[in-house]
């Protein structure tokens, strides 16, 4: 396939996806379907944003619930203290939630990014627990009962639609952001850090600054959808806002789809979150749900450690190489670092 044909088919797929997502709540008006769709879009945004940092830089962050929860609390507090009426006006507060999350990411990143690998992961988890503790115990967060958000006066029949379209707009912007980062010089620097941080620094990449900026960028959309999520629920509680399962969910969705790719996190979140929402709305009992989640998690890591998108891309490349009569070299060439270059 020539580059032109490939580009045209990518544009076609993109247009088709936009039409499908745009028409979804018009075609499926069942509130259960649309609420699952809202949650799914929110997780697609969060996973894509998480991937901008963790996927491109290779630093596994397991504390993005900090930004999700901070966004939620910011929007709830802003709506309460500024007396914002329920309705579309609350959506205008979402960027504030994103900004606060990004601002929080600066000190968090300054501490966490001093270390690498395991220690980095553990530090992000530890910082997450600091925020959880604070949300439970600080005065202004309302403790265990949390804070109510204003009631949205949308018509009951189409109540979910405004949330859906706002989430879709944020998703499109986040994907554009991820794509732009990936194509930029800055994105190349991040990928260089993933492949070999010391060599990247030797080549003149200001690794520390690049990592911190990516961390802050990735916090912003997560804060925005955090606000949206809790506006949709109507209340923000500490156990939902700072949920360790949220942290691992993003990683799991990213790994299922293929981290470091543009479409992988979208696919992973689309499949897992819709399935998970369907399961929780159909079955009750946290125990069984956690067991199913754990099993699924292990299966993904053991059977598809590199994710769906890179695996598929490699299969496709192999077939193309074989059709062209060339030797099967793609496997070796794509094993390290090159994966993301093939899988788009």
């Amino acid at each position: 396939m020539s580059v032109g044909v490939r580009r045209a088919s990518a544009a076609g797929a993109l247009a088709l996806a936009l039409v499908v997502f745009g028409l979804f709540p018009v075609v499926f008006t069942d509130p259960m379907a649309t609420s699952i769709a809202v949650f799914t879009l929110i997780f697609m945004v969060a996973t894509t944003a998480w991937n901008i940092f963790s996927g491109y830089s290779g630093y596994l962050a397991l504390g993005h619930a900090v930004f999700f929860g901070s966004g939620g609390y910011t929007v709830a507090l802003a709506a309460r203290d500024w007396h914002v009426k329920g309705g579309w006006a609350v959506f205008a507060l979402l960027p504030v939630g994103g900004l606060v999350a990004a601002a929080i990411a600066i000190p968090v990143g300054l501490v966490a990014l001093r270390v690498r690998r395991h220690t980095f992961v553990v530090i992000t988890i530890a910082i997450f627990f600091v925020f959880q503790l604070a949300a439970f115990n600080l005065g202004f967060t309302g403790g265990t009962s949390g804070i109510l958000l204003p009631f949205a006066p949308f018509a009951a029949a189409n109540y979910n639609q405004p949330f859906y379209y706002v989430a879709l707009v944020i998703l499109v912007l986040t994907v554009v952001l991820s794509w732009a980062v990936r194509r930029s010089r800055f994105g190349l620097q991040l990928l260089a850090i993933r492949d070999d941080e010391d060599r990247a620094r030797g080549l003149g990449v200001k690794t520390w600054r690049v990592k911190l900026i990516a961390f802050v960028i990735s916090a912003f959309p997560v804060g925005m959808v955090g606000g949206l999520y809790f506006y949709f629920l109507g209340q923000v509680f500490p156990q939902f806002a700072f949920d360790p399962l949220f942290d691992v969910s993003l990683a799991l969705m990213g790994f299922l789809g293929g981290i470091g790719t543009l479409t992988g996190p979208l696919l992973g979140a689309l499949v897992l979150e819709s399935m998970q929402q369907y399961l929780t709305q159909s079955f009750s009992g946290t125990g069984t749900y956690l067991i199913a989640y754990g099993v699924m998690f292990l299966a993904v890591i053991l059977l598809l450690p590199r994710g769906v998108v890179p695996t598929l891309a490699e299969l496709l490349a192999n077939r193309r190489a074989r059709a062209a009569g060339g030797p099967d070299t793609t496997r070796d060439a794509t094993v390290r670092g090159g994966v993301a270059g093939v899988a788009r």
């Binding site: 690498r116 627990f129 360790p244 691992v248 956690l290 067991i291 989640y293 998690f297 292990l298």
Partner: protein
């Protein structure tokens, strides 16, 4: 705050710190030989506590004799964990994958415990749990003394095994250089399996003492693992002595904070210490600089 209350807090901190030292030593041993952080260590402690609960509440086996059953059971769990999951990780992305895999195991255990026991809090009871002894002006609950005694004995045993036996030398060799250990005829896979088994087995003891001194439910693992992670990082990853020192230091400090300020914010001490220490010494209090690259 009176001087006695402060001293009592310090003594309590040392006694509970011993048990945390044991749990953290298991975590750091697994990290040392496998290069894997076992996120499930916290929920395994809770699992150990539930095993003791099951034995004492339903089968009438006391907490201490019950250890003869729970310790081998947890050892077997550790061996299975290494054999079925950790061994299958590929070398690339090992860091991320190993953390996710042990997190998945943690979720699985938490789910199984919630399905069986629900979310209600339980606590272990025994004749020696609620009594205390009065020594030199302090009230020392028996269970704290028993827990501390067990922890010290087991840590001494662990130390002896690692530094005085042939198996311990094999463990340390595989820890330093896998290929070289292979070359001189050490069965690295078996050494690793047994080490993970031992690292997990200590959670049975930790769980018994934890369950007798705290009310717990299937969610309690998160609180524990966050403390244990803070301890092993403070002590320097992979350093067993460091983990012990950091455990006692942190428990004393947080108990003093609980008395002097407020019990609610005592856990914050762990994380605050972690952040401050890492800002100054990224390799931890007792770690070597090479750890920084990790």
């Amino acid at each position: 705050m009176s001087g006695t209350a402060l001293l009592q807090a310090i003594v309590d901190g040392i006694l509970t710190g011993g048990v945390y030292a044991l749990m953290a030593a298991g975590l750091t041993l697994i990290f040392g030989v496998m290069d894997i952080i076992n996120i499930a260590q916290g929920v395994m402690v809770v699992l150990g506590a539930y095993l003791s609960y099951e034995l004492s509440a339903h089968l009438g086996i006391g907490l201490l004799p019950g250890l003869l059953i729970t310790v081998p059971a947890m050892f077997a769990l550790g061996v299975a964990l290494e054999f079925f999951f950790m061994r299958r990780l590929r070398e690339q992305d090992r860091t991320g994958m190993s953390i996710l895999i042990t997190f998945a195991v943690a979720i699985l255990i938490e789910g199984a415990l919630s399905a069986i026991y629900g979310v209600d809090y339980v606590q272990l009871h025994s004749s020696y749990v609620d009594k205390s002894v009065y020594v030199l002006g302090f009230y020392l609950p028996y269970i704290y003394l028993i827990g501390f005694g067990l922890a010290v004995a087991l840590l001494a045993g662990l130390y002896w095994m690692l530094y005085r036996t042939k198996f311990g030398r094999a463990v340390r060799a595989s820890l330093q250089n896998r290929t070289a250990a292979d070359l001189i005829g050490i069965n690295v896979n078996r050494t690793r399996t047994i080490s993970v088994g031992i690292g997990v087995a200590v959670t049975a003891v930790g769980g018994m003492v934890f369950g007798a001194t705290n009310a717990f439910n299937p969610n309690s693992g998160y609180d524990l693992i966050s403390r244990l992670l803070a301890i092993v990082i403070l002590g320097g990853m992979g350093s067993i002595g460091g983990a012990m020192g950091a455990a006692i230091l942190m428990l004393v400090v947080s108990d003093v904070v609980a008395v002097a300020w407020s019990p609610t914010w005592a856990p914050l001490v762990f994380f605050a210490a972690l952040v401050i220490v890492l800002s100054i010494r990224p390799q931890g209090l007792f770690g070597s600089p090479a750890i920084r690259a990790q």
